[in-house]
Chain length 237, copies 2
Amino acid sequence: MAYLEADALGYGAGNLNRTAPVCETNKTGFAAFGGKATHHDSHTVIYYEGDPAKRLYELVKGTVMLYKLLPDGRRQVVEVLQSGDIFGLSSGSENDCTAETLVEAEVSEIDLKQVEASADLQRLLTKCLTNQMHVLHEHAVLLGRKSAVERVASFLMHLVPERGGPGCPGPRGEADDGFDLQLHMTRQEIADYLGLTIETVSRVVSDLKRRGIIRVDRADKIHLNKVCGLCQMTGMH
Amino acid sequence: MAYLEADALGYGAGNLNRTAPVCETNKTGFAAFGGKATHHDSHTVIYYEGDPAKRLYELVKGTVMLYKLLPDGRRQVVEVLQSGDIFGLSSGSENDCTAETLVEAEVSEIDLKQVEASADLQRLLTKCLTNQMHVLHEHAVLLGRKSAVERVASFLMHLVPERGGPGCPGPRGEADDGFDLQLHMTRQEIADYLGLTIETVSRVVSDLKRRGIIRVDRADKIHLNKVCGLCQMTGMH
DNA sequence: CGTTGGTTTGAGAGCACTCAAGCACTGTGG
DNA sequence: CCACAGTGCTTGAGTGCTCTCAAACCAACG
């Protein structure tokens, strides 16, 4: 089993929705601007939708999701953030999403006022926002136009580095086209991210297992037997 | 009929997805930075998904949609832009969406290099991106969690200024809670924006008509009889 | 060994989709 | 002035994918 190995490489859920490196030109992030480092346990809310937006946050380590709730309890996870991503920006005076950690996370906070002033921060911000925008566009296609199988396949493919994107090399060489994944989201979180129900996600996963595309060692430990085969099921090929 | 009146006020499709004014702090937009003004007829492509991204565009007048296509022809309209909105930013070197006008439009173009240099442009950009981000978040909820009726109701409500948002005053006074709309999108465009089929959109509109919520004078001229009643159907109350 | 929380599986229903026909408005030519 | 495509929208019938509700399963834990 190479789960730990994959994790150590920063893979696993670590590059969700990441087709290109983000904000890596600025290695220091908010640290260079006196950002206050904070630690958050797994599944902790950093701020709630509707809270006054006074700070900007940079995810340094871990994974954070942003979600919105409808009054009757329906939830949509709108973004899953990775290290380097910035969140907490609001078009009004209130946060438009709730931010919650998926796993333990290190976050760097700075005051919104600082951002207004610093040109470097603005540049960093533009870059990150552009990237998040791109991810949101792709996610809109997933939510609006893809079937359940295509959604789950797309989700899993996003967890495989260097694959599925425009520069996908195809199956490396020949037979061995496998990959080990460590999920950092529960079925419920995946469902709310993909616009499905928990049962549908589970059924699709079971179906992929039955068809030999994947192997499920534990609910959160999945081995992709045929990365390229899975990629064919995303609706993008 | 007050259609022309509404249109003259800049309503109609003019404030789609606009809960707060955008980029209005910078009245000049790109003009102040030597942006090249261009004119585009209705339903003209400004750039295609996959084209090299070399310029940044500001919509000065009219309406532009951004959409993505899946290889089998499925389309998802990911954004509907209004004057003041900026588009053409890409996280890679290629445009991630196709940009097409919905109606005649005036666009101001500037070189991407200019943006890198100007702090004012960066600030303008951050503001616009933040706004678009907020709209995309809300749209993700619509696409992932709302029923067909809720999607169409939400869509129509976005065309009514000052209503449906957090500061909604409710039905003004008493009886008269109507509003005239001029749509600038075909049923197909609406369907592709809402993640539905053209038939479903048509059926929902007919149903709203049957229930007395709206009156359809022409396919693109709709009178809302009960704005508040419609608002109740968006899933957000 | 029972409890708990998360996951999987099953049966059935319903909403939105597909395919197909009908309708309304527009412009064109005889 | 009317016939006739042409285009876009609406309506109908039937199917199927995903949802809902419910029960079973499983690993972790006290």
